[in-house]
Subunit: 315 residues, 2 copies
DNA sequence: GTCAATTACGTTCTCCGTAAGGATG
DNA sequence: CATCCTTACGGAGAACGTAATTGAC
């Protein structure tokens, strides 16, 4: 019915030592208590397991039969607890994160590489997805948590701001805009524009402002920042790219100019399913991401990305 | 460290029902106690296993990892206890008995057959061995117990008399002795004698008397009663055979005459290793053997064997 | 007499149930 | 406000340790 791991251990100790006193010490109890433990065990399994007098201790036939099972049970318990301990110690485990392509370009891989060095046993998975899909993955539990520019509803998701990302205007370096130190939406008026996909957060965030600035929508709409850069370099138009994605737009013929508008920042949230506990490994990465986040809280502009990651600002 | 089967069961119940209240009922405890049990379990394994609020209960990643182990542990416990219970119920198990060839001829096989019908799950093994070997097998634990004409020393063995067996003189039916109703050792004086093996108890018991009766030792010494009978029928001599072995000497040309000497009885003991508990199955057979033993306690002559088992007494 | 297991018995602590508390829809 | 999980608290019983007892050598 109810046999405890403690009694199993007692059995195994006595089986091995064949001495009550020695086995008792090994189990950190008094000889008396140990004797009682064996008695309880025998009562619970309903059979005498040891033949014993003051001199000899030996297994009964039932004891031998129980021995095999006891070893298996003890091994299973050991393995199970050890697995859990490994997970807690981050010696093993699996973490899946969903993040937008901009973060997946450089910053997040770099962070994950560091995490991987610290916790070699943890299997990491990174899904670079657009905003809507990110929330769906988190909701479905297919990723442990997500990084996203949209928070989702508060009933289902638990989100906290990581940092704010600035936007950059990317244009051919021959473009007059490339010479400017900073740009306003108004500066883009009438310019042909290449869009990122509508399901992505960049489009969703900038759409209203761009419409107000009366840019000229070329109708071109791509998913990859690399493609976007190619189109811009090809002269199809200009575009707006979040800071951390600039690396993907780094081309000899392109320039990036920061967009200096108060509200034109792109928040990045850590998003998890509300009420769900993260695995130890996921929690560690969750914490690490917060620690490694670029400076930038609501109100303050996002810190500039690493210099090597940004295209030349001007000719 | 110490996790009990009870907590494993609680975990499995909650995993399945996803309701504290329902799982608590299944475990026959109050909802409060069940909540505490889950809390203790989580404390012992060192990880939160369930995410829960008043409406929903779901496994955490660690809980899912623990689930697999919990199922295996529960299965092992179940299997082990079930096996032990089967043994106690004699639904399974193994019993090995050592017995002298005379008992193995008819009486013991008949008894074992009956026992087998009552306990079909028990695997029976019968070793027909001579006296010395029987004690060695019991001492080594290779048989659960033995039936033997020698008790062995009391320090190592625990023996109790089962019954006393009479001796019969077996001779050709044409022999003058075959006409007698009973014989004394003196009647055998000068007769050529065929011996059973010296390690057997028959030889050991009868040797002194036969020497005193001045029988003529032919030097022939066999292990099988059937061979003995063949030699007697072939005219090599006569011999002495315990009652229960007469079946093996049943030949048209042979006769058996009881040996009427007070001390010429052959005790049969049940012998077990001192201080050793018998398995449930072995204990049952041990008891059954006592119950089915032929009448015959010290002082009373052994009951006659079944008529069909005895050779014709006279021509 | 010595050593080892067991029993006796008082103490401590675990575990459960009743009842109150708190969160959720 | 109804439901369900959790916390508070007190009692019952389990489990342990000290010490006395039994048994083997």
């Amino acid at each position: 019915m109810n046999l405890s791991g403690r009694l199993i251990d007692a059995f195994l100790a006595l089986e091995e030592t064949r001495r009550f006193a020695v086995a008792a010490r090994r189990c950190n109890v008094s000889a008396s208590a140990f004797s009682q433990m064996i008695g309880r065990l025998e009562e619970q399994v309903g059979a005498r397991l040891f033949d014993r007098d003051t001199r000899n201790v030996a297994l009964t036939p039932e004891g031998q039969a129980f021995s095999a099972g006891a070893h298996r049970i003890a091994d299973e318990i050991r393995a199970t607890l050890s697995d859990l301990k490994d997970r807690a110690a981050l010696d093993t485990g699996r973490v899946a994160v969903a993040a937008p392509p901009s973060l997946g370009a450089d910053w997040l891989p770099r962070l994950l590489a560091g995490f991987q060095r610290t916790h070699p046993g943890v299997a990491l998975r990174l899904l670079d997805v657009v905003s809507d899909r990110c929330l769906a993955l988190v909701a479905a539990g297919e990723v442990d948590f997500g990084l996203n520019a949209q928070r989702g509803n508060d009933l289902e998701f638990d989100s906290s701001l990581l940092f704010n990302e600035r936007f950059f205007v990317v244009c051919p370096r021959t473009d007059p805009l490339a010479a400017r130190a900073a740009l306003k939406f108004a500066d883009l008026k009438g310019r042909p524009f290449v869009q990122t996909v509508r399901t992505g957060s960049v489009w969703q965030q900038t759409q209203a402002w761009l419409a107000k600035a009366q840019v000229h929508d070329t109708g071109l709409e791509v998913t990859q920042f690399g493609t976007l850069a190619g189109l811009i370099e090809g002269g199809f138009g200009i575009s707006i790219v979040p800071e951390l994605a600039l690396l993907l737009c780094r081309r000899p013929g392109l320039a990036a100019v920061p967009l200096d508008e108060r509200q034109a920042v792109r928040p990045i949230y850590r998003i998890r399913r509300r009420g769900r506990t993260l695995s130890a490994a996921a929690q560690a990465l969750w914490d690490e991401i917060a620690a490694q986040a670029p400076a930038g809280i609501p109100g303050r502009p996002a810190r500039r990305g690493r210099r090597a990651a940004t295209p030349a600002r001007s000719g």
